[in-house]
């Protein structure tokens, strides 16, 4: 672990700024966690996940991981965790959801940049988040414009690996190009960790992630039960915690949660009443502590039945599929998984996202869709129109919610979401 950042002498002004940051950051994170805990039917086994979030955002400690294992900051689901684990490091997803860091980054980034990127830049500037600071390497896939500039900006300050993501993935060459990116990334990792990539290490890492995904799939199957066993906000906390947890530990925690949920299912204890409108949240990433939307939905009497967001279910959903057990075969599996099934709107052609959402509507008995747009996130906003048209065709109400990382618009959001929920409840759209 790199301790040098913590012993740098701060000027009084910097010290004051940091103290303010600490206070505010702690306060928001604490408030969000409290609101999560206050929701009804919180399973006992959820505690370790919330503790992880608390550890990183309230206590501001580094993520827990075995000693001598460096951490690698990743900025998107397209950075394969398997590769990082295989080369003796631990991935930490650093996409920022912090209101305070966002406020800091607001001074550096252009006005129209998205809050996620602003928060990341804020973290870098304020230098007060161990989980962030201690990363030995940053891995930034070039997805949208904001990420591209972020990659450049970060590489002037930190060891940074930039991964070029193809704009499309149906042609074989596109995917093959990403295989080469992954080899380059792996070389970068070897420099940092001193651990060369071998087929054996990689396959063990695959198994490790596959175990996590097995539990996740079990979890998803439980979530699909109707009536519902677990609130979507809790599920999002579980998925957000995955970003900061050593994966075998997360797998164990999730196994316990699954066991508890199975017990609940047997005793017929459901999370919410049957008649609560079942909503799907999709769109720009929802990153802790920015839990504004999920909390609002569930506090206003809706049920967040599912989410299609990259810090939620999608973050670990797609498994890499090994069809060829040679090293190159596994690298292809990683590249394939990172690009082809990804419903990220930064890909030029992304009709698969509509199909994905349709499938989820069926799987989770969805009655309405909440479309989250982070102010400045063009790519997700772009896809709202097609999504709206598709939902209209299916007769599913949809609402577009544009917001960023501050609490000024909360009241206005509350009113809109309440109205949306009422509309589904009494609008005759019951199924």
């Amino acid at each position: 672990m790199d301790e040098k950042n913590n012993i740098v002498q701060l000027t009084p002004m910097e010290a004051r700024r940091r103290e303010r940051f600490d206070r505010k950051q702690t306060a928001t994170a604490e408030k969000m966690l409290r609101r999560v805990r206050e929701l009804t039917h919180c399973p006992k086994a959820l505690t370790p996940f919330l503790d992880t979030l608390s550890q990183v955002f309230v206590d501001r400690q580094d993520v827990s991981h075995p000693r001598n294992v460096p951490t690698v900051g990743t900025y998107c689901v397209m950075v394969p965790p398997e590769l990082i684990y295989a080369q003796g490091a631990m991935p930490v997803k650093l996409c920022g959801g912090s209101y305070t860091a966002f406020a800091v980054g607001d001074d550096t980034a252009p006005r129209d940049a998205c809050p996620l990127v602003k928060a990341v830049m804020g973290f870098e500037d304020i230098d007060a988040m161990p989980a962030y600071q201690n990363c030995a390497l940053m891995a930034v896939p070039v997805t949208c414009d904001c990420k591209k500039k972020l990659a450049g900006w970060l590489s002037e300050r930190r060891p940074t690996a930039v991964l070029h993501v193809p704009a499309n993935r149906d042609r074989d060459e596109d995917m093959e190009r990403f295989v080469r990116e992954l080899y380059a990334f792996s070389d970068h990792l070897s420099e940092i960790t001193g651990v060369p990539l071998t087929s054996e290490k990689l396959s063990l890492a695959f198994h490790r992630l596959a175990e996590a995904q097995t539990q996740l799939s079990r979890f998803i199957a439980l979530r699909r039960r109707h009536p519902t066993l677990i609130r979507g906000t809790f599920a999002m906390a579980v998925m957000n915690a995955a970003s900061y947890t050593w994966v075998p530990g997360w797998t164990r925690q999730l196994t316990r949660l699954n066991d508890e949920l199975e017990g609940l299912a047997k005793s017929n204890t459901m999370a919410v009443k049957d008649n609560q409108p079942r909503l799907l949240l999709t769109g720009s990433p929802v990153i802790f502590p920015n839990f504004k939307l999920p909390l609002l939905i569930e506090e206003m009497g809706g049920l967040l039945a599912a989410d299609e967001t990259c810090m939620g279910e999608r973050g670990l959903y797609d498994p890499p599929v090994i069809v060829d057990s040679s090293l190159n075969g596994m690298m292809r599996a990683l590249a394939n998984r990172a690009t082809r099934p990804c419903t990220c709107p930064t890909f030029a052609d992304n009709r698969r996202r509509l199909y994905r959402v349709r499938q989820m509507i069926g799987d989770y008995h969805i009655q309405g869709v909440v479309y989250h747009v982070l102010r400045g996130c063009l790519v997700y906003d772009y896809e709202y129109a097609v999504m709206e048209a598709e939902m209209e065709r299916l007769g599913i109400p949809i609402i577009r919610v544009e917001t960023d990382y501050n609490e000024e618009d909360v009241e206005q959001l509350r009113i809109r979401i309440e109205a949306f929920i009422e509309l589904i409840k009494y609008g005759g759209n019951d199924t």
């Binding site: 074989d172 792996s186 198994h207 797609d318 040679s326 099934p341 199909y355």
Partner: protein, 578 residues
């Protein structure tokens, strides 16, 4: 002329050139056996045993030759062999040898009255595909009681050249068993199975109390694990060795090339064996391997195992019927020898067409995925690479387009070369596999080189040859009417591309197709699909892909089954910390 036409023309010319090269190349011998007649030698022993022929590889021995006259059947009729010895048989010999003792009187039926006994022996060398029993009739009054073996499992008896109708004959098998039977109106009996005949059989016919005719019959045998079998395996062993050397060379050359190109060291180590083994779970895949193994055994030793063959049924895969022990015959021969087919009695045509239509409609290329021995061989080589974790050669759309082109050339050769007097069999890799394993000495021309190519390419790219196989392609053509279907649920599919990555036939549409009449059950069956089920096994979405046979779901994609496969490591290999 637009570019498309130009390209088409260029491809056509290239194809013609390739076909021309192939026409000359087919005659390049890989390993040829000399004519069985040249190889064979005959020794007569006067060892007081019953009059009979026996084989040891190419050496034929006549036992009990005291006072016997020994003949070879030539085009001019029976020709006596002096001293009963021949280092090679007469040039115009038809491959049949006979021995007969002068008639003597003895009481062989135990009724106390001596009869006239005619004791004879007969053997047919190189009992091969084109053995024509009409030519091999001795038709000579020196051997009055004669037996012909037109097809495995069928004997025709004659007495003084005329069919021996409704006659009671006793057969004594090599293990001492006695089988009594009566011939039909044309002297035919099907009472004995292939295995009854293999070790030699003695027929006894007693027309009346005063005559006994005895004939010992022996075909050229090819007992597995005998010296003869080992010899027959030689060309295939040679092929394996050459293929192995080529594979090693390829691995070394590629490693050097990757290093030279400055590729990442991890990439350059393309051979990384590992102790981590995946655990297999019972399912479609295991069933498929089971069926493949059974078919493989059946198509090599079927006749031996079952004692009979279904030689009228023409299985439309490259299971080479030069192996006469195989359970069924194969349609490939007739497809590539259409002129020969038309010269046969109409029943041949009927059986050929009937088998093809029936198989194509019932199973289609499922036969490729489950039955074809050449396909099995390629799956085995692929598994070998998986176990060794050697980097393969992954093909993309462009490479598959090249293979498709080669397939057209192969198809042209397959159907056409027979019409202009050639034989596709001289080029067909399958000729090197099953006949040798069954112990048949089959001469290999270009086939031998093809087989090396099949093994090496199949090692680096699974089922590479199947991508250019004309027989498989023809079998897949009527797939629209076939009962085997591959279907896709376009909504459940995440377009993850895993199916395409897994597909040995490079069928991309299973991954990309989204639109169809019923999006929850789009038919994605194609001519190329061999129903190996790997796309389904590797599909991580519940129900996104599935296979049906006559409407019954055989195999359905399941996320949990997939993850169980992927997460399963053999015990004791889990990582320590965590």
């Amino acid at each position: 002329m637009n570019t498309r036409m130009k390209q088409g023309l260029a491809a056509g010319l290239l194809a013609a050139a390739l076909a021309l090269v192939a026409w000359f190349a087919v005659d390049i011998p890989f390993y040829t056996w000399s004519d069985p007649l040249e190889r064979a030698s005959l020794t007569t022993l006067r060892d007081d045993e019953a009059l009979s022929f026996s084989y040891s590889d190419d050496a034929i021995t006549l036992h009990g030759g005291e006072g016997a006259n020994i003949y070879a059947l030539t085009e001019a009729g029976l020709m006596e062999l002096e001293n009963g010895k021949a280092d090679s048989l007469p040039g115009d010999c038809l491959g049949t040898l006979a021995a007969v003792k002068p008639a003597f009187r003895a009481d062989t039926d135990g009724d106390g009255v001596a009869e006239t006994v005619v004791d004879a022996a007969r053997t047919d060398l190189a009992f091969t595909y084109d053995y024509d029993h009409t030519v091999h009739a001795l038709s000579d009054d020196r051997v009055p009681f004669d037996v012909l073996y037109p097809r495995r499992g069928q004997f025709v008896f004659t007495l003084n050249g005329a069919p021996l109708a409704s006659a009671a004959v006793t057969a004594t098998l090599s293990d001492g068993r006695e089988v009594a039977f009566t011939t039909d109106a044309s002297g035919v009996s099907t009472a004995l199975s292939i295995n009854d005949v293999r070790g030699g059989v003695t027929f006894v016919y007693r027309p009346d109390g005063a005559h006994t005719f005895r004939l010992h019959y022996q075909i050229e045998d090819n007992t597995v694990f005998s010296l003869r079998w080992l010899k027959a395996m030689m060309p295939f062993t040679l092929i394996l060795l050459i293929a192995l050397v080529l594979i090693i060379l390829d691995v070394l050359a590629r490693r050097a090339a990757y290093r030279k190109r400055g590729l990442s060291e991890a990439r350059a180590r393309i051979f990384q064996p590992s102790a981590v083994r995946k655990r297999s779970h019972f399912g479609f895949e295991i069933v498929r391997w089971g069926v493949m193994l059974l078919s493989f055994a059946g198509l090599i030793w079927g006749g031996r195992l079952l004692g009979t063959t279904f030689s009228k049924v023409d299985l439309p895969v490259l299971a080479c019927p030069y192996n006469l022990d195989q359970t069924t015959s194969a349609g490939c021969y007739w497809f590539s020898h259409i002129t020969e087919l038309l010269e046969r009695p109409p029943s041949y045509l009927f059986w050929f067409l009937g088998s093809f239509v029936a198989f194509a409609l019932l199973f289609g290329r499922m036969l490729c995925g489950f039955v074809c021995p050449l396909g099995f061989l390629q799956d085995v080589t692929h598994e070998a690479r998986m176990a060794l974790r050697i980097e393969g050669i992954t093909l993309n759309e462009r490479a598959y387009a090249v293979l498709r082109f080669i397939k057209w050339v192969m198809l042209t050769l397959f159907l056409g070369i027979g019409l202009i007097g050639g034989s596709f069999c001289d080029l067909c890799p399958a000729a090197a596999l099953t006949p040798a394993l069954a112990g048949f000495k089959t001469s290999l021309y270009f086939s031998g080189f093809m087989m090396i190519a099949v093994i090496v390419s199949g090692f680096f790219k699974r089922r590479c040859f199947c991508n250019i196989c004309p027989m498989g392609y023809l079998l897949g053509l009527p797939h629209k009417a076939s009962l085997a279907r591959l279907k896709k649920d376009a909504v459940a599919c995440t377009e993850c591309g895993a199916c395409y990555e897994a597909c040995p036939m490079g069928i991309k549409s299973i991954f990309t197709v989204r639109e169809g009449k019923n999006e929850r059950a789009i038919d994605v069956t194609t001519t190329d699909c061999i129903f190996c089920g790997d796309c389904i096994r590797k599909c991580p979405e519940d129900g996104a892909l599935y296979m049906t046979l006559a409407g019954v779901k055989l195999y359905n994609a399941s996320r949990m089954a997939f993850l169980r496969d992927q997460a399963g490591v053999r015990k004791g290999k889990r990582e320590k910390h965590g």
